[in-house]
Amino acid sequence: MAGIYKKEMRSYFRGLMGWVFLALILLTFGIYTSVLCLSKGFADFSLVPYNAQFVFLIAIPLLTMRSLAEERRQHTDQLLYSSSLSSAEIVIGKYLSCVTILALPLVISCLYPLVLSGHGRVVLETTFSTMLAFFLLGCVLTAIGLFFSALSTNQFVSAAISFCALLFCYFANDLGSLLSTSIAAAFYFFSVLAIAAVALLRVMTKNWLAAGVALLILEGGLLLIYLFVPTILDGSVAAAFGSIAVFAKLETFSNGILNITVLLQYVSLAWLFVFFTIQAVEKRRWS
């Protein structure tokens, strides 16, 4: 795993991608620090990462797009998967290298509030808790990007899909509020979602029976809930969209709350997508 990690790190900085990523994050942080803290005189540095989070929409797909997709396109995945490393070690090695590159500009940016605190009062607790949440948000998005990189052989396709997925997460709260809040609408929404999930199951397992049983259980359960305890569905669509809206969760930190639940959600989501990536790699090899 250490070998993969070092090779990836070298590869990022021997090429342009690592430097572009660093420049993009540092430039965004620099602009917001100048505008908010220096020009407008805000003492709350946490506003900088909160406002800068949109940069992830572009930076993360750039960072992760070539990670696994390019290995497949160049057939170098044959080297990795025929070596004495497991798929998990390969994926985790690559993920850690991405996370390290993500951490580098953030560590540099953490110096800004320290410098500013020498010239006035800066709320360092809120600042660093927001920076931690910002980093963990980046970890979640990196895991999502890596997952889409594992699904494609073309790095640009992988970047485009990652961008769409991140954009969906970015606007998830707004999208959720646009949908009808009625119980019937929630029932139809989750029915469609269940059918999509079953279709995915069928594609992955190529097993009609398993897909049929899953569809029966999901749709049957949903129908029973709708008929007998419909209140469960009340507001559930907005809640579902809210759980996807990982960007919006950063707000609580810039409000001065160290929200452990959100931090745990970030860690869990990052782990979940790394797990999905390992499974996607394994599935491709074993199918």
């Binding site: 250490a2 070998g3 993969i4 090779k7 590869s11 021997r14 090429g15 160049q74 057939h75 170098t76 995945d77 044959q78 080297l79 990795l80 998967y81 025929s82 070596s83 004495s84 490393l85 497991s86 090899r285 074993w286 199918s287």
Partner: protein, 317 residues
């Protein structure tokens, strides 16, 4: 030691490999030959653990590639058809990375790589970027990659593809030297190349093993000796006379304006009626200029065996 048992692999509706089984022992160089799409590379990919089989097992030094993949791969060096190279790395850095993947101790990597670079003739190219190398040198880097970690078993998929004649001879020597201490499986489209270096040949056609034997045995168990070539100066066509000889199943004739004729006489398997044929031809008034069994080359054996499976599969050519 590599053991393969009942491997099956399908890509959608295309059954690429159908029940491939064989063994390769230490000190053997086993050649895998077949036409394009016969299933050679798929079989090699399954042995190397890059892709899974739908059915069947692969053991590398008694380690099952599915149940103990990491242990099995530790004993295997694999060079795929397209060498998996990072063009932005130098030859040395790339091989160093492969050594790390293969678990070579950090302190031993440099001396280990020196031996490999000397062996494949890459010492003077070790600091060059792989992206700037010619196809022949890339191929050598691929072979060097398979040797990293000093695995006991080596699989080389078309190792001499794209090399010039001089390089082919050099790589052949490398493979022959490897075969003394390792188990080597090598695939190629070129029969002569395999015939020169392999101790055994496995012929694959349509995903099936149609022959697995030494080259001598393959030739001897084919139609060699079944067909006689007879060249005569004849007053009349003697085809009917030759057909009447016991155990002769077929006779074809080709006449020349010089008055000579050439006959190809096919006999029943396991019989030799050259004396009877000679007597019959002489009795018919022909002057025998040449009578000999037709010699079969490895190419004839290959075409004979692969054509048989095509006919069994019902393919019309």
């Amino acid at each position: 030691m590599i053991e393969v048992s009942g491997l099956y692999k399908a890509y959608g509706l295309n059954q690429a490999v159908r029940g491939v089984s064989f063994q390769a022992q230490k000190g053997e160089i086993v050649g895998l030959i077949g036409r394009n799409g016969a299933g050679k590379s798929t079989t090699m990919n399954m042995i190397a653990g890059y892709i899974s089989s739908d059915e069947g097992n692969v053991w590398i030094n008694d380690h099952d590639i599915l149940k103990e993949p990491l242990e099995a791969k530790r004993h295997l060096g694999y060079m795929p058809e397209v060498p998996p190279l990072y063009s932005e790395m130098t030859v040395f850095k790339y091989l160093e990375f492969v050594c790390k993947l293969m678990g070579v101790e950090k302190g031993r990597i440099e001396s280990h790589l020196k031996g490999i670079l000397d062996e494949v003739g890459l010492e003077h190219m070790k600091n060059r970027l792989i992206g700037n190398l010619s196809k022949g040198y890339r191929q050598r880097v691929g072979i060097a990659k398979a040797l990293c970690g000093d695995p006991e078993n080596i699989i080389l998929d078309e190792p001499t593809s794209g090399l010039d004649p001089q390089q082919i001879v050099e790589i052949r020597k490398v493979i022959q030297a490897l075969g003394k201490e390792h188990t080597v499986i090598i695939s190629s489209h070129i029969l002569k190349e395999l015939a020169d270096i392999c101790t055994r040949l496995i012929i694959i056609d349509r995903g099936r093993v149609v022959a697995d034997d030494t080259i001598e045995h393959l030739i001897s168990r084919s139609d060699a000796g079944r067909v006689l070539e007879l060249n005569v100066k004849e007053p009349v066509d003697i085809t009917k006379v030759l057909r009447a000889v016991e155990d002769v199943t077929d006779v074809t004739r080709q006449s020349f304006i010089t008055g000579n004729a050439n006959y190809r006489i096919t006999q029943k398997p396991g019989t030799n009626r050259s004396e009877a044929v000679s007597r019959a031809a002489a009795a018919a008034g022909a002057t025998i200029l040449l009578l000999r069994p037709v010699e079969y080359s490895l190419e004839d054996v290959f075409f004979d065996l692969t054509q048989r499976t095509s006919l069994e599969a019902g393919e019309v050519r």
